[in-house]
């Protein structure tokens, strides 16, 4: 498949996704109740927003089908495996931070990000991670009085 066709297909799929989302918003809005123009209901703004989203997405869809130009991507080639790993590590951070506490979880997260994702040597990664975890705890919790999760160890 040539590049123009491929980018056209991608752009159309993205536009169709927004059309579907717009329809879902409209459907959800009708379930909330649209009210009347004299007394708009909870779903009023959502319904009209959803409808405008559908119309605009259809315009973008038509635009993408008509265009014969290749879509210029602003982003470079992305490393999706690394991106998925970073996002997964953040999700795990959210799962454990209130159980294990800020310092320990932050240490694990930073060690992983520096050592595994960024490929810094492990000794240095562990050193920087522990210093950053303790340092940020001192700055945010002790100095700025921002409440950070303590976990079972109390820090």
């Amino acid at each position: 498949m040539d590049l123009v066709k491929k980018t056209k297909m991608t752009a159309s799929s993205v536009a169709l996704f927004w059309v579907a989302l717009g329809i879902l918003v409209c459907y959800g809005a009708t379930r909330l109740g649209l009210g009347s123009v004299t007394e708009p209901g909870s779903g009023f703004i959502f319904f009209w927003s959803g409808l405008i989203l559908v119309i605009l997405s259809l315009m973008v869809l038509v635009e993408s089908l008509r265009s014969s130009e290749e879509i210029v991507q602003e982003t470079g080639k992305m490393n999706w495996v690394k991106i998925a790993l970073v996002l997964l590590s953040i999700v795990l951070y959210a799962v454990f931070v209130e159980r294990l506490g800020f310092v320990l979880t932050t240490f694990f997260l930073l060690s992983f990000l520096l050592g595994w994702i960024e490929g810094t040597n492990w000794a240095r990664s562990l050193g920087v991670a522990s210093a950053a975890a303790l340092g940020s705890f001192a700055i945010f919790e002790l100095w700025l009085k921002i409440r950070l999760p303590k976990g079972i160890f109390g820090f």
Binding site: I52, Q73, K77, L87, V97, L109, L110, T120, F140, L148
Partner: protein, 500 residues
């Protein structure tokens, strides 16, 4: 006018208190730091530091947060000139001639003129704030829900018009922003809307995790394994004070940049990024040697740098006098004002004069601090850039997580930040701009309330927006902005994109 000057003197009284001076200093220093560092901007920093300000008095807090806003404009130029990397989105244009000046051994005058230009523009915009904000606030007392609704529609239309890619896509993002902003309890009936039974969504989606995800984490994810070590200008920086010839060439561009930035910044939806492109284009048009632009012309540094600073002052006017943010940065400040129990809007100046005048006076003091501190500290800022990006990116993620979590002490906000970082990444990949989404996200609930109140007032007639002169003018302007591109191939945003 005399009344304003008396009030400003009162503001200096407040801003010069030792505690406020300290927070002003912290704010401008933090602002410069995040301005220097690529990957984390003033918006994410304000969101990050917001929880730290809860225990402060609101005046000190807003003084510090404002300092971050304009401090970042100073810091952004340093990396643009020395590295050809804009530390901040509103310093993109400075790269064009600033870096070329540095390569020709004129990094000193480039940094100097950008600091002096920023200072002059900052001073000008503060004078503008003193004159315009109270006048506009008095005028805005006449605003009812229809005028507010029309004004917000105008802001969103302007954002879409200024989109540098597809205008339809920008409008789509604005609509998505409204939908996301309205998630949570119905402000009138308290019915849960699109919360999917998740208790944490009842209060709505927080601005902090959205900003952290869209601007902070998404930026890091995009650059994973891509950004190599930046090449830092190795030459010795000398002669920070521009000579007589530099001044002669720069004074006009600084004046024009200040005027343009300030007045464009006044318009809701414009922010500080677009005016600097326009100021650069204007200087190029006015120049006798436009072909030299891009090869190290001092005018190409002086004007955009003055412009982005003046625009920041301009964006404070709709925020403080109308309660309407112009961009993501002022949207977070609006959130901060509400958290401190203040009601942003036309009555803010009358009800909290100490806050309003104190903050304005502190902006002037902050600008002086930046001028005095910034130039001698440039070597220190450059050394900050020597920290490997692998470390910086990990720290940015950590700061974003702390910022997302600490506002509500809720891990749900971390999940929201993760979702929005992925959304932000996909938006970049498929050429959707995040700015209209964030602005509409903040304006969404205000827009909805204004619309529903207007319809209740008019007994269901949409004509109310056209029957009242002020709202009719705003609506007319919005229509012109939205329809004009259909008849003209040239659209400002797209033109700017070509100007790059």
């Amino acid at each position: 006018m005399l009344e304003s000057l008396t009030s400003l003197a009162y503001g200096f009284n407040i801003a010069l208190q030792p505690q406020n001076l300290l927070y002003c200093f912290i704010g401008v220093t933090m602002g410069t730091l995040v301005g220097v560092l690529p990957g984390i901007g003033p918006t994410a920093t304000i969101a990050l530091l917001l929880p730290a300000t809860f225990k402060l008095n609101p005046i000190s807090a807003i003084i510090m947060l404002s300092g971050i806003c304009y401090g970042a404009m100073y810091g952004g130029s340093t990396t643009s000139i020395l590295l050809n990397i804009p530390g901040e989105a509103s310093s993109v244009v400075t790269c064009l001639d600033g870096y070329q000046m540095a390569r020709k051994g004129r990094a000193g005058p480039a940094l100097g003129i950008s600091a002096f230009g920023s200072f002059i523009a900052g001073t000008f915009s503060i004078v503008g704030l003193v004159i315009f904000a109270p006048t506009l606030a008095d005028f805005a007392l006449k605003f009812g829900p229809p005028e507010y609704f029309a004004l917000m529609v105008m802001g969103l239309s302007v954002v879409a018009y200024l989109a540098r890619k597809s205008m339809a896509k920008a409008l789509m993002m604005a609509v998505v922003g409204i939908v996301l902003g309205c998630v949570g309890l119905d402000p009138i009936t308290a019915t849960p809307r699109f919360t999917f039974g998740i208790l944490d969504l009842a209060d709505g989606i927080g601005i902090a995790p959205v900003v952290m995800g869209l601007f902070g984490i998404a930026e890091v994810l995009e650059n994973l394994g891509v950004l190599t070590k930046a090449e830092i200008f190795a030459g010795k920086i000398k002669g920070l004070f521009p000579d007589r010839e530099d001044w002669r060439r720069s004074i006009g561009p600084i004046a024009r940049g200040s005027l343009l930035g300030f007045f464009l910044g006044l318009l809701p939806g414009v922010g500080a990024i677009v005016p600097q492109f326009l100021s650069y284009a204007l200087e190029k048009k006015l120049s006798r040697h436009p072909e030299r632009f891009g090869s190290g012309e001092i005018e190409g540094v002086a004007s955009p740098e003055a412009c982005n600073n003046a625009a920041v002052g301009g964006t404070f006017i709709p925020l403080l006098s109308l309660g309407i943010p112009s961009n993501a940065m002022t949207a977070i400040l609006l959130g901060a004002l509400m958290i401190y129990g203040l009601t942003p809007g036309p009555l803010l100046i009358k009800n909290s004069p100490d806050l309003f005048w104190g903050v304005i006076a502190s902006m002037y003091i902050g600008n002086i601090m930046l001028l005095i501190l910034n130039l001698p500290l440039i070597p220190m800022w450059v050394s900050v850039l020597k920290i490997p990006y692998s470390y910086l990116s990990s720290f940015i993620i950590l700061f974003c997580l702390i910022g997302a979590y600490s506002l509500n002490n809720s891990t749900s906000d971390i999940y929201i930040a993760v979702i929005f970082s992925l959304v932000g990444l996909l938006m970049k990949k498929f050429a959707f701009e995040p700015a209209p989404l964030v602005l509409a996200f903040v304006l969404g609930p205000l827009l909805e309330t204004a619309l529903r109140r207007s319809l209740i007032l008019s007994d269901g007639s949409f004509l109310i927006f056209l029957q009242r002169p002020i709202s009719a003018a705003f609506i007319l302007f919005s229509v012109v902005v939205l329809v004009a591109p259909l008849f003209s191939k040239l659209r400002l945003g797209r033109g700017l994109s070509e100007e790059d």
